[in-house]
């Protein structure tokens, strides 16, 4: 049986691709030739004839090299990341923040609840801008669509959709604890229940709303 891997490697010598990329192309093409060779043998064709038939798959290896080079030349990674992640992510965060400002500017009253009782008489308050939350699924859907249209992998789509929740997440897990430690003006007696309520209202709820729009677009479009 011919060593297809070696044969393809020799025929593609000089192919102007990066080392890893070249190795993958060689392995893939050799696998194809081997599949075809085995298929011909299974049909009862002799090894010699099968080898000849398989080699007829490529009449001009020079032309194939040239076509592979032009079709695999990578565009800059930055361009791809921009279209798949950064652009949809910044658009979703811009829209989410703009809508929040508009909702506040228009004078919509937030829904304020003291339903969650805290220890020792503290009563954490949840402040929820419902009109803003209602816009988030649409923003998540837009981020998912733009990211998916650019051929982004699932993680990039997910990250683009969730991006507007990131500043609030950063505030609650980094900003607030840092402020409590460093800033004398921030009350040190913030109850853990108040922290959790704030986290739930400003991180978890927006994240769920964004995903409610983004995931259906990603999986069903």
């Amino acid at each position: 049986m011919p060593d297809w891997l070696e044969l393809v490697r020799l025929r593609l010598t000089g192919l102007a691709l990066e080392k890893d990329d070249l190795a993958q192309v060689v392995e893939e093409l050799a696998g194809h030739l081997d599949d075809q060779y085995q298929s011909l043998l299974d049909k009862g064709i002799s090894e010699q004839t099968a080898t000849k038939c398989v080699l007829q798959q490529v009449m001009d290896w020079g032309e194939l090299k040239s076509k592979i080079e032009s079709s695999r030349l990578k565009e800059p990674t930055m361009n791809r990341r921009v279209s798949q992640f950064w652009f949809p992510a910044f658009l979703t965060i811009l829209l989410a923040m703009s809508f929040l400002m508009i909702v506040e500017a228009l004078g919509f009253e937030p829904w304020i609840s003291s339903a969650w009782g805290g220890p020792q008489g503290t009563v954490p308050v949840a402040v929820v801008y419902l009109p803003w939350l209602i816009t988030l699924p649409f923003i998540g859907a837009l981020g998912s669509y733009l990211s998916g249209r650019a051929g982004a992998p699932s993680w990039a789509v997910f990250a683009s959709v969730m991006f507007p929740a990131v500043p609030y997440l950063a505030f609650f897990i980094i900003g607030l604890p840092t402020a409590v430690v460093l800033d004398g003006h921030v009350a040190h007696n913030i109850a853990i229940s108040a922290f959790l309520v704030g986290f739930g209202v400003w991180v978890v709820l927006p994240a769920i709303a964004l995903l409610a729009g983004g995931l259906p677009v990603h999986y069903f479009s």
């Binding site: 696998g31 194809h32 599949d35 079709s71 998916g148 990603h218």
Partner: protein
């Protein structure tokens, strides 16, 4: 107006349509095309892989190495959301070409 590059577009439509049913590796794509067209359409290695790489570069398909039960690695291609969106306009272009040929030369799919 039938767009230029319709011939290439038709080949792309064939490959994208094959991948609508799920992920396939290159040899399987070529085998199924030949099988489902009763041998009328054949993609040699030299024709198939540059096109697969081009489709991948255009982000219409995505390739990923998968290891089969026999331990052999194969690069399987699947449609991206962008690829799924591309199929419909390609089909429309192809239908326009076929209708034009039908009017001019009486070519039919009967």
């Amino acid at each position: 107006m039938i767009p230029p590059g319709i011939k290439r577009g038709t080949a792309e439509l064939v490959v994208l349509s094959m991948l609508q049913g799920g992920a396939l590796h290159g040899y399987e794509i070529a085998r199924r095309i030949e099988q489902e067209t009763n041998g009328s359409l054949r993609f040699t290695l030299a024709a198939l892989y540059p096109m697969l790489y081009r489709l991948e570069k255009q982000r219409w398909i995505r390739g990923a190495w998968e290891t089969g039960p026999n331990g052999r690695r194969r690069r399987c291609y699947r449609l991206t959301p962008a690829g799924k969106l591309k199929i419909s306009p390609l089909r429309k272009d192809w239908s326009a070409l076929f209708a034009a040929l039908h009017r001019l030369a009486g070519v039919s799919n009967a």
